[in-house]
């Protein structure tokens, strides 16, 4: 639990301290990439909670989604079509669905735990 959080903090600190800036023109692409990355992340969390997590799918999905989103936005710019909206829509909807599923699973786990704490503590003792 703590290790991923540490990773996040390290990443933010590194980004802020290195003071890297990208040209304004590309900031749209970066925001779509961030959205895609977040989508993959929450997809991964959901999968691991549903016990269907697969390393390869998670990692390839993460990079592939980012590249696909940026590619789509790039193509849209050159076609004069706001294709990045498609990416935002798709990732946005999936993000909300994934977060909703995660919330439900966590809520179910929590209610189960609070219903029979003895069974849980008994399990832990084992």
């Amino acid at each position: 639990m703590w290790l991923p959080l540490l990773g996040l903090i390290l990443g933010v600190a590194f980004g802020l301290l290195s003071d890297i800036q990208i040209p304004q023109v590309y900031s749209n692409y970066l925001s779509i990439a961030i959205l895609a990355a977040l989508d993959s992340l929450f997809g991964g969390v959901r999968a691991s909670l549903q016990q269907v997590y697969d390393d390869k799918i998670f990692i390839t999905g993460f990079f592939f989604n980012i590249v696909l989103a940026i590619g789509l936005a790039f193509l849209g710019v050159h076609l004069g079509l706001d294709l990045y909206l498609a990416a935002i829509f798709a990732f946005g909807v999936r993000l909300f669905q994934n977060i909703a599923i995660i919330r439900r699973i966590l809520l179910a786990n929590w209610t189960e735990k609070s219903k029979n704490p003895e069974a849980n503590s008994g399990n832990e003792r084992k």
Binding site: L3, I9, L10, G11, F14, L16, I34, L41, S48
Partner: protein, 237 residues
């Protein structure tokens, strides 16, 4: 554990991306709002700098060539030549050349009214030097004190000083030596056309600028120059 590591790596990347995006949004690059003429001005000053640097490179190349062409036993004299040249540039040697002589005198009105003759203020003298810097000159002497790039004009205990030496009350002379007589004419014309006369007149002073002369001599600055930034490294350290 492996799963956690993967999540850590992914979160690291996401954090980095978010921070970069934050940087970009928060600190946008400053927009260039200069107009055509401002850019042209900048360009011309850069070009001037460019040509100055080129001429400097050329002179340094010449020095290198002198070093190379001289045989080993003559290196000493080449070094001495360089030192002499540097001394000359620093204004430590006497200089003779074409130039103009400027007399700073109390204005006739102030004499007629019997006003006290006061020393020139450091501000006015600095303004004068700045005005002079619009054109090319090679040596400047203010009331017998050589003015170099390291010189200071300031107020010490109520007295205006150049290089720490008092400037006498008007009248006194300022000598400007230039490389060529044409440069001397340019200095002459610039000073004649400038508004510095008005500034002097406000302080009850007038400038009498002589026609450019063929030969003027200014004395070198004999004081040792103290460099406060660079210190000699002691041997053995």
């Amino acid at each position: 554990m492996r799963r956690q590591l993967k999540f850590t790596a992914v979160l690291l990347i996401i954090g980095f991306l978010v921070a970069v995006q934050y940087n970009t949004i928060q600190k946008p690059e400053e927009r260039d709002t200069r107009d055509m003429w401002a850019i042209r001005n900048d360009l011309s000053s850069e070009k001037k700098l460019h040509s100055e640097l080129l001429s400097e490179i050329r002179s340094l190349d010449e020095t290198i060539r002198t070093y190379e062409s001289l045989s080993a036993e003559n290196t000493g004299s080449a070094l001495k030549e360089t030192v002499d040249k540097l001394h000359d540039e620093m204004g430590m040697t006497d200089k003779i050349g074409p130039g103009i002589i400027i007399e700073v005198e109390p204005s006739p009105e102030s004499i007629a009214l019997g006003a006290d003759i006061e020393q020139i203020t450091p501000d006015l003298l600095t303004r004068f030097v700045n005005e002079l810097n619009r054109v090319k000159w090679s040596a400047l002497e203010i009331d017998g004190k050589r003015y170099t790039t390291l010189s200071s004009i300031r107020d010490i205990n109520g007295f205006t000083t150049v290089n720490g030496l008092n400037v006498s009350s008007p009248p006194f002379t300022i000598k400007v030596v230039t490389d060529t007589i044409e440069d001397g004419e340019k200095v002459y014309n610039t000073l004649h056309a400038s508004t510095i006369h008005d500034d002097f007149y406000l302080d009850n002073l007038i400038l009498k600028i002589s026609e450019p002369k063929e030969q003027i001599e200014v004395k070198g600055w004999k004081e040792e120059i103290h460099n406060l930034q660079l210190k000699e490294l002691r041997k053995g350290e």
